[in-house]
């Protein structure tokens, strides 16, 4: 089985499982306990915080460890909105992950105004549109760094500049960006950044929210006072140790890996377009993550194609993992102007650290065969 679904999750990188295991076996303590076992746990926690902070170029005090990207997005959005008394408006895009869109819906029901900015046919938010939408009651801007379904990058540097000029907190869901491209949070000037450990090969069940020190957020989990009162609950020490091992594995190597994966992706798309000429790569006209190809194939049902490829030994997905298996077409291609029918045909191929050239080489012919068979209506013949 060849795994090409890294935007859903990735296998743990070398060193990660070892770090998790070591923390589970050697560190008995609860980091809040004052005895030696607890202090060792605390020390490990502090070191891990520094490792993660270093990778994204911020001071360690900004790192709040959470249970993952979904929780980080909730903490950022609800935390800022509640600090603003749930009044005013929030700007976001039409292509955000559900874990951003859903808390926003909740805030709408509590009386806040949520403005969902459209994207162009390449999937990008126009900074000029964003600038026009900013008004005195805007309390937060939440725009993702890279889209999970298409890999399309948003102009976050420009958005950060606009937000800073207007003195509005900017939250960026960098779940898919993190680990695939360098991320210097202070340089870009983002106030709240969501990170997930498992997408680039860290452990599941662990993430972080990076918060600017001047920003006050209302905690969403209470009781215990961990993470300087911003996130209660015994710290997931093994997960956090695994997160730190991921950060160490990525440090200084992100560019190099990105180049390698970009080359693989280019090869994959070149061959794919040669063998299935009417395939459409979503967001091809925009800057994208190195690893993601969202492919629309007229006249084909994406779910069926994914299943056919699974039988052939290739793991890819139709849209996002969390919503796969559902029948509603994804909101992302729709927002980019695709018809519902074309949207249903979209499949996502996402490469990662463990992807080899041989995997890509064997994938394209299988893809072509499966697509051809489906078009002849004989998938399961």
């Amino acid at each position: 089985m060849i795994y090409l679904d890294h935007n859903a999750t990735s296998p743990a990188r070398p060193g990660v499982a070892e770090a998790v295991t070591a923390a589970m076996t050697a560190m008995h303590g609860n980091p809040s306990s004052v005895h030696a076992a607890g202090r060792r746990a605390r020390q490990l926690l502090d070191e891990a915080r520094r490792a993660v902070a270093r990778l994204v170029a911020v001071h360690e005090s900004r790192v709040i460890f959470t249970s993952g990207g979904t929780e980080s997005n909730h903490l950022a959005i609800l935390g800022v909105a509640e600090a603003a008394g749930c009044m005013g408006s929030i700007l976001t895009s039409a292509v955000e992950h559900p874990s951003v869109l859903m808390p926003l819906e909740r805030l709408e029901s509590r009386g806040m105004r949520v403005i969902r900015l459209p994207v162009d046919t390449h999937g990008r938010v126009d900074p000029a549109t964003l600038e026009r939408a900013i008004n005195p009651d805007t309390r937060l801007v939440s725009i993702m760094a890279a889209n999970n379904e298409t890999g399309v990058l948003q102009p976050i540097e420009q958005i950060a500049r606009l937000c800073r000029a207007a003195k509005i907190p900017f939250h960026c869901d960098a779940t898919q960006w993190f680990g695939k491209r360098p991320l210097a949070i202070d340089e870009i000037g983002v106030d709240l950044v969501t990170l997930s450990a498992h997408k680039p090969g860290g452990p599941k069940g662990c993430g972080a929210l990076i918060v600017h020190p001047a920003l006050s957020i209302v905690p969403q989990l209470s009781g215990g006072g961990q993470e300087r009162g911003r996130r209660a609950g015994t710290e997931n020490l093994p997960g956090i140790a695994g997160f730190a091992a991921l950060a160490d594995a990525l440090a200084g190597r992100i560019e190099e890996e990105a180049q390698r994966i970009t080359a693989l992706r280019e090869k994959l798309e070149d061959q794919l377009l040669k063998s299935v000429p009417d395939a459409l790569i979503l967001g091809a006209g925009a800057e994208r993550l190195p690893n993601t190809s969202a492919v629309a194939l007229p006249g084909i049902d994406g779910e069926t194609l994914v299943m056919t490829l699974d039988l052939a030994g290739f793991a890819i997905s139709s849209g996002a993992a969390c919503s796969s298996g559902k029948n509603t077409p994804s909101h992302v291609p729709l927002a980019m102007g695709l018809s519902p029918e074309s949207t249903r045909s979209v499949v996502r191929v996402s490469l990662g650290w463990s992807t080899t050239e041989a995997m890509v080489d064997s994938f394209v012919p299988a893809f072509q065969r499966s697509a051809d068979r489906l078009r002849q209506g004989s998938a399961f013949a």
Binding site: H28, S196, P203, K204, C206, L221, G223, G233, F314, A315
Partner: protein, 403 residues
């Protein structure tokens, strides 16, 4: 460095090697996202999740469909209390909980107070247990939720869960039970005990940190307003990628605890009684905190008169124990649980919680008895107060000069 003897099993527990072995393949070989419905990596992960869900359900007599995975008991407590309060806020806005609950419960209740809810904080007796008549008397037509922990984290006392459940069912009030310290330590059956929601933590039962569960009853149905949306995992009650290795660890931890609970409790009780006898039998002015009988086998909480709390902790630093609970032990406040039980401030400051568990040995217990008795005797020898007590002076009648 010689490692101190670990007797803080209520703060956290080491991962059982069997649990670790079960988890390992799910990091590297079988790493799929259980929400991926389109390929075998996802399916095998989903199967592991299903199995873990069964194992967790089994230890509390629940249906697997009633288990919602969370990041831990703190999240479970927050989700249960906040979620029910928000969903049923039009039905009533009154909640009852004891003053000795974990902070995850108390702080959530405080937040709800700020949101227009009324909370009755129920006192406990000197033994740490609530009084059922008092609980019943606190119920009003507005009461929608009663939240009582199964086992207290500091003094280990077991609340009368079954009777509370019966009362709640009879009065049609939701019953949430924080069983972070109870699961795997005492038999729990959510149906026999009429529990509507129950919080579970993995790292207190030799599973990994960062994972827990909330049991949410289906019949009669309990509805909660989720606070993590997006992705629709866990039947809409809690979103976020399910961390397969952690779930496998929680499931295996539950399986082992379920199978070994009664044998382990018998063993621990012998060790605990020996520790108690070894310390309390050799010294005077030593007090057991919490009910002597209605408590879990692995907990012993003792206060020592005529020593200073900080000095005592320093003197027994070869034993990893806690004074007060782990979450508040970094602060110098005396334990609010002991204060609620009427323990005076001095004695609350010198309380030590000995938490025994799966890897505690009889040798360790003997060793700890020696260390504690030696330390207390030595500290008392240096104490002028102790000298006066030995000379027969009744300190309570002393008048202290201001200085």
């Amino acid at each position: 460095m010689k490692r101190p003897i670990y007797m803080d099993y209520q703060a956290t527990t080491p991962v059982d090697p069997r649990v670790l072995t079960a988890m390992l393949p799910w990091f590297t070989e079988k790493f799929g996202n259980p929400a991926s419905r389109s390929h075998a990596y996802g399916w095998e992960a989903d199967e592991a999740v299903t199995n873990a869900r069964k194992q967790v359900a089994a230890i509390i007599g629940a249906d697997p469909r009633e288990i919602v995975f969370t990041s831990g008991a703190t999240e479970s407590d927050n989700l249960a209390i906040w979620g029910v309060a928000q969903f049923y806020r039009d039905k009533g806005k009154h909640i009852i909980t004891p003053t000795t609950e974990h902070k995850a419960v108390l702080d959530t209740c405080r937040h709800l107070e700020a949101d227009g809810f009324e909370v009755t904080y129920l006192p406990v007796g000197p033994n740490g247990l609530i009084d059922l008549a008092q609980l019943e008397a606190a119920i009003t037509p507005q009461t929608i939720l009663i939240s009582v922990m199964a086992v207290n984290n500091e003094v280990g006392v077991i609340q009368p869960i079954e009777a509370i459940g019966r009362l709640c069912r009879q009065k049609k009030i939701f019953f949430h039970c924080d069983a972070a310290q109870g699961v795997g330590k005492i038999p729990i059956d959510v149906n026999a005990m009429n529990i509507d929601m129950l919080s579970i933590s993995a790292h207190k039962i030799y599973g990994p940190k960062g994972i827990g569960a909330l049991y949410v009853r289906r019949q009669p149905r309990v509805r909660i307003k989720p606070f993590m949306h997006g992705g629709g995992h866990e039947r809409g009650m809690r979103s976020g990628t399910l961390p397969t290795p952690l779930l496998v660890g929680l499931g295996e931890a539950c399986r082992i605890a379920n199978e070994e609970m009664s044998r382990e409790n018998t063993r621990l009780l012998v060790l605990r009684e020996r520790l108690k006898e070894g310390i309390m039998g050799q010294m005077t002015h030593v007090f057991l905190n919490g009910d002597p009988v209605q408590r879990v086998a692995g907990n012993l909480n003792i206060s020592f008169s005529y020593v200073e709390g900080e000095s005592l902790m320093m003197a027994i630093k070869d034993v990893a124990v806690s004074s007060g609970s782990a979450c508040t032990s970094a602060s110098l406040e005396p334990s609010y649980v002991l204060r609620a039980m009427g323990v005076d401030e001095e004695l609350a400051h010198t309380s030590i919680r000995f938490g025994l568990g799966r890897f505690t040995t009889a040798e360790e217990v003997e060793h700890v008895i020696g260390i504690v008795v030696g330390a207390v005797n030595k500290l008392r020898e240096m104490s002028p107060l102790w000298e006066m007590v030995q000379d027969g002076v009744d300190l309570s009648t002393m008048k202290w000069a201001a200085h």
